[in-house]
């Protein structure tokens, strides 16, 4: 039996306390009115302006948003054409000049009238500018008010989906009758214990969104589906058959209840198999795992549209469900490797050898590549066809999230592929830990990139609110997972494949 070390428990509580402070700070420092926003913008004006200039420069470097800026960058080879264009411009100018001159000469009486009209236009311009400014302030206010919510949402869904990823991996091991993994079943069951508290917090967050406590989901906004409202959005209204709050919350409850039910029953059967006299619980779990996987692949896909894609309700992508799945699946496998290595280092997992670790590392490597394949397929298809209604998704990300957007490809693909390609490296604890930290960081940023551009836009920052939410959920995750690990022996006893797993050698 595993005993939860006091040090780790204290660490988890400290993380949660610090995290709560960060979350509270995030909510308290969010602006309440447009006046506050004006102040914030005035304070950061110089810096903001500067940043804008850099993004503008950088914009030209973006592979997906090149069109206009690239055209402006006159290449040496295009200089001749440009020169020709200039001549045309000069010619056009001279024509324009003569025209204006003649108008002036012909109508001196009209000049005063013209002047008056000009003044009037200037006035309307001023009014328009003021209105525009107010609208801009409101826009920024919503983004800044979303910031602590979005930070909470990203951290919450990230840890929830890690436990879901582990559950999917666990079900696959049962359904595939894998001979290597049964010694790790209790570790996986321990990690999936986070599913229940994680889903409850997540449901609470979704209900808060549905009750208009934030603006995370644009389609939940008031008047969006009402043609008489100034907020009316015909595209969203057309999707309201699917995107409406009661149906949305109902779906979320059904999905999470289904996953939690499988987790609860499979854990119960797995423990019952320890003291059974035959393999009936094993067979039950095998059938249940197959059923769960069929249920899971459908619900996971819909859940990814609901919880992640619907923050951008004007945009859609067909492989999105797979993409989100790959992201949290690899994070889940990495988490299994982490908890296994930790317990092994404390001497709790007698039968886990480097071959088991090697297998987990191969999965980390393979699914990282699979994630990249989906990321690139989604990006490249939209970049290539460049259809405005879908490419805006990547244009905003490349313009405002350049470092996280491309940085995560380095973290999730380039570094894992270079570190984990070597067979000997896949057996070394410190290599797995290093690669695992890189992968988990990369996939947190992946979820950050999926949620933030639609909710906070260019007001994003990884600061106290984001790190606080991350720390809080990490602390909770550690607390729940390691408490669950103390509840049962770490080696399944009567599993028919356990002997093979104990002697697994690659």
């Amino acid at each position: 039996m595993y005993t939860f070390s006091n040090k780790l428990k204290t660490f988890a509580f400290v993380l949660m306390a610090l995290g709560l402070m960060g979350i509270a700070y995030g909510f308290l420092s969010a602006p309440k009115t447009t006046q506050d926003v004006e102040k914030i913008l005035a304070e950061s004006h110089h810096g903001g302006h500067h940043a804008e200039a850099t993004t503008h420069d950088a914009h030209a470097a973006a592979p997906a948003a090149e069109e206009h800026n690239a055209e402006k960058e006159v290449d040496a080879k295009l200089e001749a054409i440009a020169h020709e264009a200039k001549t045309h411009e000069v010619a056009a100018d001279s024509v324009h000049k003569t025209e204006t001159d003649s108008t002036h000469a012909a109508a001196p009486v009209a000049e005063e009238e013209h002047h008056e009209a000009h003044a009037a236009t200037a006035e309307t311009h001023e009014v328009d500018a003021h209105k525009e400014h107010q609208e801009h302030l409101e826009h920024v206010l919503h983004q800044l008010q979303n910031k602590p919510w979005a930070a909470l949402y990203v951290a919450c869904i990230f840890f929830l989906l890690i436990s879901v990823g582990v559950l999917a991996f666990y079900a696959i091991q049962w359904a595939a009758q894998a001979g290597w993994s049964p010694v790790l079943f209790r570790v996986m069951e321990g990690i999936t214990a986070y599913l229940l508290p994680g889903s409850i917090i997540f449901i609470v967050l979704l209900v808060a969104c549905g009750m208009h406590m934030n603006h995370l989901f644009v389609w939940m906004g008031e008047g969006v589906t009402d043609p008489a409202s100034p907020n009316y959005d015909a595209i969203i209204a057309g999707k309201s058959g699917f995107l409406n709050v009661p149906f949305f919350l109902g779906r979320a409850v059904v999905f999470l209840a289904g996953w939690n039910l499988y987790r609860y029953l499979s854990r119960k059967n797995s423990l019952a198999q320890d003291n059974a006299s035959d393999d009936s619980f094993y067979k039950k779990n095998f059938k249940m795992a197959a059923g769960f996987l069929a249920f899971f692949i459908v619900t996971e896909s819909i859940a990814s549209w609901d919880w992640v894609m619907s923050v951008d309700p004007h945009w859609y992508s067909t492989l999105f469900g797979w993409y989100v799945f790959a992201s949290f699946f690899v994070s889940g496998i990495t988490t299994i490797a982490f908890v296994t290595l930790y317990l092994k280092s404390k001497g709790y997992l007698e039968y886990v050898n480097t071959s088991h670790i090697h297998d987990l590392a191969k999965f980390m490597f393979g699914i990282s590549v699979f994630w990249t394949y989906l990321w690139f397929s989604q990006f490249m298809l939209m970049w290539y066809s460049n259809i405005p209604e879908e490419v805006t998704y990547f244009v905003t990300r490349i313009e405002h999230f350049k470092l996280p957007f491309f940085g995560m490809v380095v973290l999730n693909f380039v570094l894992p592929i270079l570190i984990l390609i070597n067979t000997d490296f896949k057996r070394l604890t410190w290599i797995i830990v290093m690669a695992g930290i890189i992968i988990l960081t990369g996939h947190y940023i992946d979820f950050f990139n999926m949620i933030m551009p639609a909710t906070v836009g260019d007001q994003w920052f990884i600061g106290a609110a984001e790190l606080g939410a991350l720390a809080f959920f990490l602390g909770l995750f550690i607390l729940v997972v390691f408490t669950a690990l103390t509840k049962a022996p770490l080696l399944a006893k009567r599993n028919p494949l356990i002997e093979e797993s104990k002697h697994f050698h690659y």
Binding site: A61, P63, E66, E67, A70, D75, F376, F379, M380, W383
Partner: protein, 175 residues
Amino acid sequence: MSTNKVIHAIYTDDDVLMDAVKATRAAHHHIEEVYTPFPVHGLDKAMGLAPTRIAIASFIYGCIGLTVAANLLNYIMILDWPQDIGGKPSFAFYQNMPAFVPVMFELTVFFAAHLMVITFYLRSKLWPFKSAENPDVRTTDDHFLMEVAVSGNEDDMVSFFKNTGAVEVKVIDKH
């Protein structure tokens, strides 16, 4: 004193063969070669063979393939004739990079796979019309053969291999 004599010990079971290989190594006889009809798991380790480096070679070939593909596309699409084809930006390599990735990926795999296979053929001296080297035709069907260089007392060695479970022990003059 060195002779050209070798002992051919023939086995009919891979487990017996594995034990024989271990015993032979423990007795410090030099195993020249082992012929088996199928891969015997762990035989290379029991014989003390050095691990293969073909994966390292393959990685290097893959890097070469990636370099070839990137330079090929950069020269053709960006440097030599940067046409505007359907609005794709051909001002710099990175601007049009996503469109090159499928080719770069395939050429990386192509180089890594094919050059590795050719390396394997060269290193194991395999080619069409090569004359087969198996000393006993039964080794391709259901028999295992261990070839050990004779050193010292020949009769002692023969009885040693008889004791390892060999169904047949022959002393052969090799040229």
